[in-house]
Amino acid sequence: MDDQNLVLVKNLKIEGLADEKWIPIVNGIDLHLKKGEVLGLIGESGAGKSTIGLAAMGFTREGCRISGGEIYFDGIDLVNADAKTKRSLLGKRIAYVAQSAAAGFNPAHRIIDQHTEGPVQHRVMSVQESRNDAIELYRKLQLPSPKEIGFRYPHQVSGGQLQRAMTAMAMSCRPDMIVFDEPTTALDVTTQIEVLSAIRDIVEQFDTAAIYITHDLAVVAQMADRVKVLLKGDQIEEADTVTMLSDPQEEYTKSLWAVRTFKRPTKPMVSSTTTPIVSLKGVNASYGKTPVLENVNFNIHPGRTVAVVGESGSGKSTAARCIVGLLPPTAGDVLFNGIPLPAHYKKRTKQDLQKIQMIYQMADTALNPRKTIFEIIGRPVEFFLGLRGKEKRRRVEELMEQIEMDPMTYIDRLPSELSGGQKQRIGIARALASEPSFIICDEVTSALDQLVAEGILKLLANLQDSFNLSYMFITHDLATVRAIADEVVVMKNGEVIEQGLKDDMFQPPHHPYTELLLSSVPEMDTTWLDTLLESRQVDKTVQNH
């Protein structure tokens, strides 16, 4: 037993229960963590990152079991420890920060009451002491009005603030180690920066060791001293962060480092005389009495891709709902090939509906789990094109070839038998089935791993060339915009802030908000966050003078 290590994991094997069989999901991982050190665990979905992170706390989720190996925390054998021993460590000496703070906080209790639960039950502090300490931590994490914010319920606080409150909660007993499980994945880029810097500062201040789990290389570059790359439960390589970024050894790591290379050439500017395929003219919309869109104007020309970017709540998806007629605008028009469309989809003709299709973010929930692929794609083929029997089958097979999936293998499967990327391809085929001229892609790649996402983007680009499709591409990921867009529309609080050709948008001068968005995208440089925070600090002082 190495005294220097706070956490020591040797040859850890974990199995998961699937279809009543135990299958290996982690195959012999070694891991060590010194006091005050931050280890980054990186890999795509299914790599076993979270499972390993939780196992380092001596915890396995329902349907998982540790089938071999050793886990020591400060010399305590966590594999063989009884539940009571583990409970005395959890929350007190080992803490956890979950991916979604919105889901990780109990909706029924005030934030501060959840904060004090740990210190009180571990007899570290009294309720009053813990409350005062919570307020102090909220102040350190730069939460607004630290004295009051804890007395709100989770739904009354924004996602970024909740994530910081959860970090404060993890700190409540001053643990020796915190496991951060993708703490910024669900956040907007601009919020992500605040949370990242808050986490980093407080971890440094209390000299807490941390395991930082993420799929985002640029994020791990800012946070970790050392990085370990995982793939399907195997360790690929491990090195200190600077070395790992500059000189990765393994092919897989190199491929991860190189994914953001796909970029299609920008198409030339359209002449001003061509009629746009879709055009929003002064569109206003509201949910109930809350206005969400205000005077939105933009055009989408045939055969082109317009990326609509903005943070959550900016109105990107609402604009899409107005175009497809799910949410009738309160003012303004949606024009299709120059002709105004009826506001509500029920009043539109079958041809109108046929020409505008949508692909959704979560292919998982957008596909009916009880229908086979043939039924899912066949339904619009039959409804819009009136094909039946053999003709229908032939058309479905043709569509599946277009999305590069073998009809022989997949046509009779259920969505649950496909991978995430394959499901998204089926979503694309279903949109193509009605032979549309305009497709709205709503965050179609944000739930996918980078390599898979790139495949989807390439497919969409090819389909656009073959069928002269127009895309409205809703995304918050500027790397995706760079890869696929011809034009960009930047939205904020229901208004269009800036729009233009992609190449112009990525060249200075920027609109201040676009600048903020662009500069907030993490870069694969270990000093990026410091430099950025420094420059923003300078900006602030300049403004103040």
């Binding site: 929350g91 956890y96 740990g118």
Partner: protein, 333 residues
Amino acid sequence: MSSIFGIILRRIVLGVLTLFVVSLLIFASVNMLPGDFAQAILGQGATPEAVESIREDLGLNKHPVQRYLDWLGGIIQGDFGVSFAQANFAEYGGTSVELGGIASVADQLAPRFKNTMFLAGVSAAISVPLSVMLGILAALYSNSVFDRAINISTLSSISSPEFFLAYILILFLAVLNPIFPSLSNVYEGMTFWEKLDRTMLPALTLTLIVTAHMMRMTRAAIINLMASPYIEMARLKGTAPLMIIIRHALPNSLAPIINVIALNLAYLITGVVVVEVVFVYPGIGQLFVDSVKVRDIPIVQACCLIFAASYILLNLLADIMTILSNPRLRHPK
């Protein structure tokens, strides 16, 4: 807070509206029953004149719409009408005189209703805490022997006929071990404890009947939440399993539990005829059945209305409590 008041007010208005519709249905269906009170009381040998005279005195010869409006108008003023069966028809030899010995429906119902509410109250006081507790324990030890034993025993008690359970309880708690009396004839002037003692066996029988439903809903509602991220978070804070359920799962699973409790409480008021008969308990259920037999329409209608009102009221209460249990509604942004 104003939005909560708005929601609750809307529920109350809806409840009143429902009660009105139900009153229409009750009146219509009671009127569709075959037979006639005057015919029934005077028997086979009644002269058409006598029948006609009683009908006239009771207002049975008026148009149904007129009778409904009279009835409804009376109820709104707190007057449920006059019981047919308790009226004195002795003088109806052939010549018509004043209707004597008037007994109002309200006078007849009031003591019976009090008894029914007492029985329901005692049963609820036993069964609700018991089933919520058993549900929590079953969730805590889910899929263990304890969980299965509770499920099997509550399910078998709900599946047995009520009179059977009643006789079993009488056998064990009144005959073999004389702890409680087997006859529950409560009356005015008894002390609370005497009443409680008499009511115990029917209350226990009812407890056996309603526990399974509430207990299983509590268990299911809690287990449903056990995979939530905030439950995992509580585990990772080192919170003990029982505290996780009580502090983190229960407050979020109140809505379905409250609704099932409300349904069962309504059953305790309206569905207890069999138990009342077995224990000779003078509740509203017996009165209802007797009145149907003699076609005492005002009593039947009043009972139906009370049953409907208790269903509506309890569901309304459940709705309001469900709304109040939701922090999003209690504390809007």
